[in-house]
Amino acid sequence: MANEGSVDARTAEELLRRFEPVIRFTKGEWFYPMDCEPYVDACSLWVARPNEDAVCVVPAGELTLERLAQQPEDTTGAVHYLKIPNPKESENGGRRRKRRSHTNPDWPKETFRAGRGRLARVGYISRLADALFSLTLLARGRVPGGDVEGGRVLYGRYMEEGQRFRYHGNVVRQDGWIVLRYWLFYAFNDWRSNVFGANDHEADWEKIFIYLSESESGEVRPEWVAYAAHEETGDDLRRRWDDPELEKIGEHPVAYVCAGSHATRYFRGEYLTELAFPLPRFLSAVRRIARRFWYVTLRQYADEDYKEKPYEQFTIPFVDYGRGDGWSVGPGQDREWDPPRLMNPVPSWVSGYRGLWGLYTRDPFEGEDAPAGPMYNRDKTISREWFDPVGWAGLDKVPTRAEELEVITGRQAEIEERQDFLRSELREKSSRLKTLGMAAEATRDQSHLTKLHETQTRHIEELSREVEALREELSDDEVLAETLKSHAESLRSGERPPPHAHIMHATRPVSEAETHAGRVAQLWASISIALVLVTLILIIAYERSHLLSALVFAIAVFAFIEASFRRRLARFIVSVNVALAVVGALVLFEQYFWSVIVFAVLGIGFYILWENLRELGR
């Protein structure tokens, strides 16, 4: 178990409060971090067994955190889940919003505005895919619209009792690090229904981790932070504490939470988030071959450096709004944190309840299913961020600052020891090699010793290879030792590697120019899909005699307009040229099939001849 040491509750709370984050929300956010207890108290507990209707295990009003932990293991494939009460059922069909009574809270105070340019940021394919994706929700499991209302009522009542903001804190030690884990619980993820995003689900657990190192005197120092965004893991998640791009207020890191999805970001802004679907294997293979041929064989230009992808994906872009123009929660802000709900020691509702924290929709993509608690994945396995918080942010290969020099010294000693061993091996083998060399020289051209000479030659070859490998290893170790020495010196003098050195792909908000598309572009984006469909229908109905030409012309015109609005004219022209070049090549191939074959064979023949003549000339 990687959680090598838990921290006592008092120290945990002190540390959590000392570094607790400042969280800035987007204007129009409906749900803020809350204590999970009132949520559980209001929910009912259900179990869905395979091929059976879901059964209510504990009705709303009778469930508590303690009771939640006492659910027995069920049959294979059974899923326990919480369910937010539907206000329509509980209020006897009372109409929402229009008649807000004491049971229908006046919440939220304001609604989200996407602003101009949202649709203008994605192309036709994405707009069409977006529409199809919405249609698939009819077939897939989805969170019913009434559940958003249920979440609103539940959270509204909670806020009307007194605006309270709370996180769930847990502190652990792992691999020399002290990890402060801030778990943020939201009653609902309303990204799809209120923010034009990809999904909705009841309950949302998000997290911010802060990694501290501890000196010998017991003084702690923050070194890294990691903000969770969707299901990202690894090096790209974390930022170094002294990174100038990491916003801080005193000892409190600042995070921007995206509206609806509650993904946590380092920068204020709007993010293009792609929902990825794997392509079928056949299409994936075709696309990979075509890409390789185009970019590697033909050395064609790419906007980004070409990289072989292990698998190809089809992506639908959505926008994540982390504007930071709404409420700000944290020390010294308009809204302060309540004392945290401590998870040191780990409470039974965390370890004992493996079910989902909201509606289980049986969505095959899981996007509409509620998440499991802090400790578990949806499939009931223990989540990595729980059992390996250091590895989750890619810190398992990074020593704490206090350990850095110690690690280098240890490695240097290892290398020295190894070098001694290698040198003695090298001496011994070199000496044997020389002896063998002399023996082979003596037995050369002696007909009665031919076999012995052959054996000696073979041994010499083997030994030479071994000696070469040893020399190479020794040389590598010498270079490594030198590098470690200079790195240790620079660390001693207080130098640090660049703060972004570990980041391969930084997630950044889209540019201002993209955010503020013009009115005409926005209007075009709104009407374009409908216009394309109408045009296609008109062509099919009235231009059947010139169907192909009319379709090509119409598609070209639409694509040209779109490319102009999106400032991608160059890319569009290249795409058209590539398509025309492919058609042109097919025309030439069809017309000059045999000539092409003859020239290809002649070309290969001349190439081989040229290579052979070059070899002859050397």
Partner: protein, 157 residues
């Protein structure tokens, strides 16, 4: 770097000259005496009376000029742009290749003249050359994007 641009310019001008030559050659094949005679005599064409092989040559010459006039101008401008201004003209050259390929494919679908094929072949080579990494690097200043910036992939949560 500038050598690449000049070479590209030279190839574009060569393509322009070849097309001008082709246009001139097609024009010289038209029996202008007959054409002028008919137009001046009657004041208008009577297609039934002028039916014949020379009409095909006239039609081909006119169609060639109509289809290829704009791309030829673009070729000349982009070619001169690359040779004289060193970096300008990539977009014009690309649009010219698009128009040439489109015209050739229309030609191909219609009367299949022999000269469509070398034009297609040359255009394909120019398209590949225009979009090759070395040429794009030479003629376009790459947009300075922050290292590794990307959109993020979400899976659900």
């Amino acid at each position: 770097m500038y050598r690449q641009a000049r070479l590209l310019g030279a190839l574009l001008i060569l393509q322009f000259l070849a097309m001008v030559g082709l246009g001139v050659w097609l024009t010289t094949r038209v029996n202008w005496d007959r054409a002028l005679d008919i137009t001046s005599g009657q004041g208008q064409f009577n297609f039934q009376s002028v039916e014949g092989p020379w009409l095909k040559a006239l039609e081909r010459s006119i169609v060639f000029d109509v289809y290829f006039l704009v791309p030829m101008i673009l070729l000349l401008l982009s070619g001169l742009g690359f040779v004289l201004l060193r970096r300008r003209g990539w977009m014009l050259a690309s649009i010219a290749q698009s128009l040439i390929m489109l015209a050739c494919l229309f030609y191909y679908g219609d009367s299949r003249p022999w000269f469509a094929y070398p034009l297609i072949a040359y255009s394909i080579l120019m398209i590949l050359l225009l979009n090759s990494r070395s040429v794009r690097a030479a003629v376009q200043s790459r947009r300075a994007a922050p290292v590794g910036t990307r959109s993020e992939v979400a899976h659900g949560e």
